[in-house]
């Protein structure tokens, strides 16, 4: 009897359209949570900087959410968002990303050197303009570092959604495991890793473009 090969290229060829649509679904479910989380983390983080007492409770709640097993959360959400729906995956992943991004925003704003903030005040910046044109731009490298972590972990976590019927490339793992057929599993792993590497590379490139001024500082 022939040993089942690790990869059967003909299978990939036959299932390519299906793999493509799983990949697209995976990208959407991985990226949207990070985008939503960033939109929520910015005001929440800035509020935590403005009102220091807000920070600890916010982070505390986020850490508790982060500690919940993802599968459990998916299952709890099924009655609300529906089985095999994108939202069932996107909502929890948004919370996970928030747990990373809120501290990133707070640390980013805290990374603005005191003498820079002070000189902005002394030049006559009003608070809103100071935030938008001095503090936030300087916070970008730290916030982007958080976005990178959130994005990569989000890409990997989407797969778990396969257990509730919507997991993007995660479907390939279940499919391969149920049929004792390694090819889909290998394809899934390779694509998830490639996706993570590509997303991270894009973010690094974005950072280069957005913050040419911070390159040497990080090297130093």
């Amino acid at each position: 009897m022939d040993e089942e090969p690790l990869i059967r290229w003909d299978w990939i060829g036959r299932n390519w359209p299906n793999i493509q649509s799983l990949l697209a679904d995976h990208v959407v479910m991985a990226v949207l949570p990070v985008v939503f989380a960033l939109l929520i983390a910015l005001p929440l983080g800035l509020a935590s900087v403005r009102w220091r007492w807000l920070y600890q409770p916010t982070v505390g709640v986020m850490n508790v959410v982060y500690s919940l097993p993802s599968l459990a959360v998916f299952i709890v959400l099924i009655p609300v968002t529906g089985l095999a729906e994108r939202a069932t995956v996107i909502v929890p992943l948004t919370f996970y990303a928030l747990a990373v991004l809120i501290p990133a925003v707070v640390d980013g704003v805290a990374s603005v050197p005191a003498h820079v903030r002070q000189s902005a005040v002394a030049m006559g910046f009003r608070p809103l303009r100071r935030l938008v044109s001095v503090e936030l731009p300087i916070a970008v490298p730290v916030v982007l570092a958080g976005v990178r972590v959130a994005t990569v972990s989000s890409i990997s976590l989407v797969s778990v959604g396969a257990l509730v019927g919507r997991g993007g490339l995660g479907y390939l793992f279940i499919d391969g495991w149920q049929r004792q057929f390694p090819t889909p599993i290998v394809v899934g792993i390779v694509l998830v890793v490639l996706l993570a590497v590509a997303a991270d590379g894009l973010l690094v490139a974005a950072q280069r473009v957005l913050t040419p001024w911070s390159r040497a500082r990080r090297a130093a």
Partner: protein, 411 residues
């Protein structure tokens, strides 16, 4: 019409003096700490006033109350007679230049945009703001090629120059400088100080400069205000007067050693010069011997064909023949005849075996020689002038003694 009147009012405002008045200003924090205590101080227009004192004397707090980075608890600060409390802080600050210790440049903006910060805030057209920024970079001695760089690509001294350029960008009449040069090494610091003096000669801003370094205060200040811990004013005077007559032991101690010598920096070297104590380098030795004999001196200053000093020669034990150029030339020192201080003249004399100082003009050509006797006479006169008025501390000591003496007399 209204516009014209407004412009006229602005013109009148900028033509007016830019006096800053501290009128009984106190800063008390919530925990009861008093940083500044009942400060009365007039900061005159077009001058550098240095606030100096040990840490905890409230000098930085005083400075920051001027542009309302900190608000006073009691008293008033008047800018041209207007209470700063009545001005909206951002508006007030855009009209006052501010330089801080680490320059505080925006790391994410190019140098030219850093300098143009306040013009941008004031809503200037971008091109006009950048043109102005380029002018200022040149004015503070920075290469135009640095304009497109980011702050991290500049040295500490260069960053500090950018900080000064940025503070000057909107041409504010008043400049606040908070220990601006204390984070750079001594050589760069001296450069920056000289640059500030040069700039101030061109710009005549009203500058309040905070430092803990008394030498910096004495070098830069037209007037120096010494503050003591607890935020009270110990003495305000021009540096020379302060060195000559410190108000009390605290100021005396704060001024440190060498007060007498340092004071000579402020005394112009108006010394009678002798023209007969020089000899051209291409002269015969016999001419030098003759000149020395007729002036009854044993030293002559050797001058080259362009009138520049070359050294001293001893006229004792001269060889019978030969050229002055072949004699051993001994070290010399020079001072500038116009604008040089008595201290620089004394220094020049101490560098020469003759004990005399060579006076040179602005081109470095010899103008004459100041002899030991004239230097001694000049320093003696300075000493006499200093002693003419008793030091305030001594007056105080005398009046304190007078009380028990009187009491004793009655008893």
């Amino acid at each position: 019409m209204a516009v014209v009147a407004g412009a006229a009012a602005l013109g009148a405002r900028s033509a007016r003096s830019h006096v800053i008045t501290f009128d009984g200003v106190t800063k008390r924090y919530a925990d009861g700490t008093v940083a500044v205590n009942d400060l009365h101080l007039e900061i005159p227009t077009g001058e550098i006033t240095v606030l100096v004192g040990p840490s905890g004397c409230g000098k930085t707090t005083s400075l920051r109350m001027v542009n309302r980075m900190i608000d006073a608890s009691e008293g008033k600060i008047l800018l041209d007679g207007v209470d700063v409390q009545t001005i909206d802080p951002p508006t007030l600050r855009r009209g006052i230049g501010y330089v801080i210790q680490q320059a505080g440049l925006f790391p994410h903006r190019k140098i030219v945009d850093n300098v143009a910060t306040v013009p941008y805030l004031l809503g200037w057209d971008k091109r006009k703001a950048r043109t102005r920024a380029m002018e200022l970079l040149e004015r503070v001695g920075l290469d135009a090629g640095l304009a497109e760089r980011y702050p991290f690509q500049l040295s500490g001294g260069q960053q500090q120059r950018v900080g000064v350029a940025r503070a000057l960008a909107a041409d504010p009449p008043v400049l606040l400088m908070d220990e601006p040069f204390s984070a750079v090494d001594p050589v760069v610091r001296a450069d920056l100080q000289d640059e500030l003096i040069r700039l101030q000669n061109e710009l005549n801003k009203t500058i309040v400069f905070v430092t803990h370094d008394i030498d910096e205060a004495v070098k830069l200040g037209d007037r120096v205000a010494v503050l003591r811990v607890g935020g009270t004013l110990a003495q305000v005077d021009d540096p020379e007067t302060m060195l000559a007559r410190p108000a009390d032991d605290f100021v005396r101690e704060f001024l440190g050693g060498d007060r007498g010598i340092r004071r000579l920096s402020f005394v112009p070297a108006d010394l009678p010069l002798r023209g007969d104590l020089t000899v051209p380098i291409d002269a015969e030795v016999s001419e030098a011997a003759g000149a020395a004999a007729s002036s009854a001196v044993s030293w002559l200053a050797v001058v080259d064909g362009e009138g520049r000093p070359r050294g001293w020669v001893s006229t004792e034990g001269l060889p019978p023949a030969g050229k002055v150029a072949d004699l051993r030339l001994l070290p010399y020192g020079t001072f500038e005849v116009n604008g040089g201080s008595l201290r620089s003249a004394l220094d020049a004399a101490l560098l020469a075996p003759s004990g005399c100082a060579i006076a040179v003009d602005a081109d470095g050509k010899v103008a004459g020689v100041a002899t030991r006797e004239e230097l001694a006479r000049a320093t003696a006169k300075v000493a006499a002038d200093g002693a003419a008025q008793p030091a305030p501390a001594e007056q105080a000591a005398q009046s304190e003694q007078a009380v028990p003496a009187e009491g004793a007399g009655r008893g």
